[in-house]
């Protein structure tokens, strides 16, 4: 049953929203942002910062728009003199005990207190008294707390209570002595705890990992997907000078809401590795790309090929590998599953690989010993697989080894051909998450040396192996894949867009 629609006017714009919608959310529909701190769409309403006060005609007092539902015929003023005056007052009060240490604060540049003060606050302060002081505290996990900057919005407390179901944080003391505290014998060790850093609208909760590393305005932001487990949380990859500095969650209410787990967000350094394969090589000697592709094709043509693929390769790479060599095997590293209990179907998944579902849909087999039964005359194709647990001796049984990857695995002592490719932050493509949702990631930084996007290299190679794959973009590869692979039928790179689409192969009971 859908809720009946309610008509109202916000800042002179007529909108119709379902009954029960808050004025703040209705204002978003009208294209008006009501400044706010404690409100967050992913958390229960607290209504405490009093920043989102708006003037509603025929209401005696200003209304907190986060906690006031729309009424038929309401006329709402967000920028009336009364509302602006009230918000100015809130901003002044939030700043009286705030240290104004923006030049050394990590939040600077992405701070809502800074932004709204700039937009609507007073240029000066009338506060003549000493400021309250509390020392910095380590909250455990990746989180540190700077109480002097805290505006007590309680987003962090509500996240831990209502999403993490781990009541580790609370408001301690009263009045202006209040601050966020850890509950007795608790630490922020919940596997999703670092989200409180993203939720904090000011610089009170900071990531220890990111501490003093970069200024927000130096970062370039790229829409991506977390490659570290099968959930496929939508992310923003933030880079500076071609270096990934951090992952941040990107809102997708179908997949990860507003959140990203600690393990996923902190596992980004491998994208910056310097010990990369950067040059095409033939028998240990630098080669140009065309020679190297030809050499690889010559070795594989007519031979029995054992293809060992990384389960975090893109759908496009896996599709082209399959065209070139037929489906191979994948291995999937696993770990403990760690759900965010307050969100539906959201967890750090046991499969710590981005695309095992896509691989398996295309016929790749999940194995634990990828080289088992490797024949002496076989050609081994390593597709960005690190061959962890495989000995050099086992590899040496192969007649020839072709490495298509970001690195040459330690177990491969003498590769016949090396074709260096970009890692996931250096190319674009798609992953299929465990629910069968196909999601795009974009290129966030440049690949080192002569490394090329995987789809580019593999399209060339497949063509050389008599499987013509003439594609000029990752999108073209995906569209070809969607035509060829039934599980992906009906999808296109354009319709998958930035929020992803559930593929035809999605299992019954998967999320719509």
């Amino acid at each position: 049953m859908t809720a009946p629609m309610v008509n109202l006017t916000i800042e002179g714009r007529a909108v119709a929203v379902p009954a029960g919608t808050t004025i703040l959310e209705a204002a978003k529909v009208a294209g008006v942002l009501v400044p706010h701190y404690c409100y967050h769409p992913g958390l229960p309403v607290a209504g405490v910062c009093r920043m989102c006060l708006v003037e509603v005609e025929k209401m005696p007092k200003l209304a907190p728009s986060c906690a006031t539902t729309v009424g038929e015929g309401q006329v709402v003023h967000v920028y009336s003199e009364k509302a602006l005056e009230a918000r100015k007052g809130v901003l002044e009060l939030l700043l009286i005990n705030h240290p104004l240490d923006c030049p050394i604060c990590d939040q600077s540049g992405e701070c809502e207190l800074q932004d709204y003060t700039f937009a609507e606050g007073r240029a000066d302060s009338r506060y003549r008294e000493p400021k309250r002081f509390n020392p910095v505290e380590d909250f455990g996990g990746d989180v540190m707390y700077v109480p002097n900057r805290c505006i007590l919005c309680t987003r962090c407390v509500r996240f831990m209570d209502d999403l993490a179901h781990d009541e580790a944080l609370c408001v301690q003391e009263r009045g202006d002595r209040a601050s966020i505290g850890k509950a007795t014998e608790k630490d922020l060790t919940h596997p999703w705890a670092a989200n409180v850093v993203d939720l904090c609208p000011v610089g009170a909760l900071l990531s220890k990992d990111f501490l003093n590393k970069a200024r927000a305005w130096e970062l370039d932001r790229t829409a991506s997907v977390c490659p570290n487990c099968a959930q496929g949380c939508n992310t923003i990859v933030e880079t500076r000078d071609n270096v990934v500095m951090r992952f941040k969650p990107r809102t997708n209410t179908e997949v990860n809401q507003y959140f990203l787990c600690d393990e996923g967000r902190l596992d980004y350094r491998w994208l910056n590795r310097a010990d990369r394969a950067t040059q095409p090589m033939i028998d240990g000697v630098l080669a140009d790309w065309e020679e190297a592709i030809h050499a690889a094709a010559r070795l594989a043509k007519g031979a029995t090929v054992r293809l060992v693929a990384n389960a975090s390769l893109s759908n496009e790479a896996l599709y082209l590998l399959k065209r070139a060599f037929g489906p191979g095997v994948i291995t999937v590293r696993t770990g403990a599953e760690a759900p965010l209990p307050g969100a539906s179907d959201l967890a750090l998944r046991a499969d710590r690989a981005a695309n095992a579902t896509g691989a398996e849909w295309m016929g790749y087999r999940r194995v634990s010993a990828p080289l088992e039964g490797l024949g002496a005359g076989d050609v081994l194709v390593i597709a960005d697989h690190d061959l962890t647990g495989v000995s050099a001796e086992a590899v040496s049984r192969a007649k020839a080894v072709i490495v298509i990857g970001t690195q040459v695995p330690a177990a491969v002592t003498a590769p016949n051909v090396v074709l260096p490719i970009a890692n996931m932050a250096e190319e674009e493509g798609t992953f299929t998450n465990l629910r069968g949702r196909v999601q795009r990631f974009l290129q966030a930084k440049a690949a080192p040396g002569m490394a090329r996007p995987s789809w580019f290299v593999l399209a060339d190679l497949a063509t050389q192996l008599g499987q013509p794959a003439v594609h000029f973009t990752a999108g073209a590869v995906f569209d070809a894949l969607a035509k060829a692979e039934g599980a992906f039928a009906g999808l296109s790179y354009d319709t998958v867009a930035l929020k992803g689409k559930l593929a035809a192969g999605a299992t019954a009971g998967a999320r719509a």
């Binding site: 009286i96 005990n97 003549r128 007590l152 009263r174 009045g175 202006d176 209040a178």
Partner: protein, 438 residues
């Protein structure tokens, strides 16, 4: 009978009749005074019939807001299949107010009876009496009386043989003023931090444990048995000024006054006679200067204004203040108003629950400015800042603690600006009669 002083002939002792009589705490004695007759009668009545009697009596909430009690009860949707709760607000923490304490200390059965009738009238089987933790003696008296009443079958399952369940429990507070705010009180009973909740939903829809709940003050509930015994007309007749204010009202008097204590008078009693006749006027050699008539949260008025007031809800409003909880705080001419108001503001800054920005930061800032003025470091701009700050603190928060800090301060500066200006310009206030009062 008054307590600790003797009852004044012009008092109308209804609730306070047995104050100071330890025997009145005992069930048998209480019954001999006519106790629990009203409950017996009420348990045989339809809840709506009780509501109608209370509505007709004109009884209004005695905790401060003055909301009509019968109307409040009628908001409870009877027969909705949900458990209903009655909370008796005995977290009497308002500075200057100590009437509920005396009701509980001397006449615990009056409150238990009122609670039981109130619970039945709103379709509740459970009533929690939330008593502030510092009230160790009233808590002990109430618990003893509850045990007696339970043992006698007056409350519990099959209360007074009526077949109905009405149970009453004491819940101790832990020392937070804000837990006297009705939604914070419910959070506190639920074991949560005592933070006021956003309304709506109102307690009658979703209150204690998410269920329909009514919260009434001790004095309100203690008056209900008398209304049932004597009839709505009798109660309504206790009215000498505004017809909207009926019944008797307990006033707690403290400060610079000859005879502090609790006094019970009919609504509309002349404040001047109350102050000079009942309370005995100012201490020897002093003159009254200012009065906060309804507990520390209401605006302060001058003695000249006070002498015109009729003591009821409308009468105090007419002079820009409120009846509030009936806690009369009296300042004589030896007091420095800046110092008194700074002390009051400090109380609110200490007790702010820290949820809303205006209250958390505003009460503390207000206090710091006032204390600086008292210390002789103030400026004239500070007074403007206080008024702008007070405007910012009023009507913008979840509850009214912030407003309650602003009201006495701004009204005090409006009426005693010369004292503030004297301090700011480096002079002792000429109106402070005693040297060293600062």
């Amino acid at each position: 009978m008054g307590y600790p002083h003797k009852s004044h002939p012009r008092e109308t002792p209804v609730l306070s009749k047995h104050f100071g009589d330890p025997k009145a705490r005992e069930l048998e004695t209480w019954k001999s005074f006519g106790g629990y007759r009203a409950l017996q009668q009420a348990l045989a009545m339809e809840p709506t019939a009780i509501q109608d009697v209370v509505k007709a009596s004109g009884l209004r909430g005695r905790g401060g807001a003055g909301f009509p009690t019968g109307l409040k009860w009628s908001f409870m949707k009877l027969g909705d299949g949900k458990p209903h709760y009655l909370c008796c607000n005995a977290d009497e923490s308002e500075p200057g107010t100590f009437k509920d304490r005396e009701i509980m200390r001397w006449t615990p059965h009056a409150l238990i009876e009122g609670c039981a009738i109130g619970a039945h009238a709103i379709g509740a089987e459970t009533c929690f009496i939330y008593i502030r933790g510092e009230f160790s003696e009233p808590i002990a008296v109430m618990e003893r009386a509850l045990a007696e009443a339970r043992a006698a079958g007056i409350i519990g399952k099959n209360a007074m043989g009526s077949g109905k369940t009405v149970d009453v429990w004491v819940h101790k507070g832990a020392g937070a003023y804000i837990c006297g705010e009705e939604t914070a009180l419910m959070n506190s009973i639920e074991g949560k931090r005592g933070n006021p909740r956003i309304k709506p939903p109102f307690p009658a829809v979703a209150g204690l444990f998410g269920m329909p709940t009514t919260i009434n003050n001790v004095e309100t509930l203690a008056a209900v048995p008398h209304i049932l015994n004597n009839g709505a007309e009798w109660y309504k007749a206790m009215c000498t000024a505004s017809p909207k204010s009926t019944g008797s009202k307990l006033f707690s008097v403290c400060g610079n006054v000859a005879r502090p204590g609790n006094y019970e008078v009919v609504m509309g009693f002349p404040f001047k006679e109350f102050l000079y006749d009942l309370c005995g006027g100012p201490p020897p050699g002093r003159k009254f200067k200012a009065i906060i008539p309804g507990g520390s949260s209401v605006p302060v008025i001058t003695i000249e204004e006070a002498e015109q007031v009729k003591m009821d809800y409308e009468g105090f409003l007419e002079y820009g203040t409120m009846l509030g909880s009936g806690g009369v705080i009296i300042f004589d001419d030896a007091q420095s108003m800046p110092r008194q108001l700074a002390r009051l503001a400090r109380f609110y800054a200490h007790e702010s629950c820290a949820q809303c920005t205006q209250c958390r930061e505003g009460t503390a800032w207000m206090t710091k400015i006032l204390e600086r003025i008292v210390a002789g470091q103030g400026t004239f701009e500070d007074l403007d800042t206080i008024f702008e700050l007070a405007e910012n603190m009023t009507g913008k928060t979840i509850c009214v603690l912030s407003d309650s800090c602003a009201a006495p301060v701004t009204s005090g500066i409006q009426r005693f600006r010369h004292e503030f200006e004297a301090l700011i310009s480096g002079k002792r206030s000429s109106s402070v009669a005693v040297a060293g009062a600062l």
